[in-house]
Symmetry: C2
Subunit: 204 residues, 2 copies
């Protein structure tokens, strides 16, 4: 792995556990095993390093639901099922990055970065909106509040993700339980959300 990338990954790790202002460039340099000056040398500043971290990771989160809109072999609810599983998979396996994004989003300095982040998080929103809208127009779905239905889907996953402590307390698990690597949790979350969305969306 290139040294530049090692720095980015080290920064990702530290930013996610200690926050941006809570992490010093010296800590990042130590974690990456490089000289402090290398950060200015490669990225120009701590802030620009942060932006590089976001860009680097965001590239993994490319839009994948766009194709789904015009897919005719799946019913609308089957598409929703697929979206739910993808969303859970992504968010759980990128929990560190999710923490960074949401934390930055809740802060009010660096407004242009906030804007970029909300774009990343909502990148997949439009296709899903259309899928729900089509489901409604075709009579397959009830006339639900589209935006808030989306909010519910994302919010359910995200709320569990807030912290391992929260997750354990919500689920009543013991100290040792590591929520974000747990396969059973993933399945449980998937089944709950799918069932929830079916009763919410499908005509009775």
């Amino acid at each position: 792995m290139a040294k530049k990338e090692i720095i980015i990954e080290s920064a990702l790790k530290l930013f996610s556990t200690k926050g941006f202002e809570g992490t010093s460039v010296r800590e990042i340099a130590a974690e990456a095993g490089v000289n402090v000056a290398m950060i200015s040398y490669y990225f120009g500043s701590k802030e620009k390093l942060f932006e590089s971290v976001v860009e680097h990771r965001a590239s993994f989160l490319k839009g994948v639901f766009a194709d789904l809109v015009n897919n005719t072999s799946l019913s609308a609810i089957e598409k929703i099922d697929f979206i739910i599983d993808q969303t859970i998979e992504r968010k759980l396996s990128n929990s560190q990055f999710q923490h960074i994004l949401h934390r930055e989003l809740s802060l009010e300095h660096r407004p242009q970065l906030r804007d970029a982040i909300s774009d990343i998080l909502l990148r997949n929103m439009d296709p899903v909106k259309i899928i729900i809208k089509n489901g409604i127009n075709d009579g397959e779905f009830n006339q639900v509040d589209i935006e808030l239905t989306l909010t519910t889907m994302l919010g359910t996953v995200h709320y569990l993700l807030t912290s391992d402590i929260m997750c354990r307390k919500i689920l009543g698990k013991k100290e040792g339980f590591s929520p974000f690597q747990n396969k059973q949790l993933k399945k449980r979350l998937s089944e709950h959300t799918k069932q929830l969305m079916r009763s919410h969306l499908l005509n009775k």
Copy 2:
């Protein structure tokens, strides 16, 4: 208002918009219109001031759902309706404080504070769990995943609350729209969540 309280309120405001490490004691002192030394004088340290902020605000969030469990004049779903409205009301009118709590929760230093915060956030969880459980036992509710149903309720509200930017983008609103003071949003969120929970919980 006592000077000590002015400091706490100033700290709340700054911590919520700039984060704990992103806010200096000098900024807090300036915002409160007091000498920097007063913060050490009253609270001992910046960290202890933070704890005071949390304590001070947490006292407003006393448990209010405990009585609801043994209330016999309301049906289970009516209790859920009440809980939804209360939760929305509380979270929206304390959005600054909610930001602080969730941000701290997603960080991994100050573990004992994290624990205290998750307790505050989940303080009302147990009575709600029991209400759902009773609803299931009485045959009024479907056999849902209790903990994740709760997660959905809290997560839906919380996800909108993440930031005004997110909220605007999700709802497709213009720049000027102030989500957290908006009455219409409150109503829309309330209706969506109630409807969602009814189709999820009630036997078909």
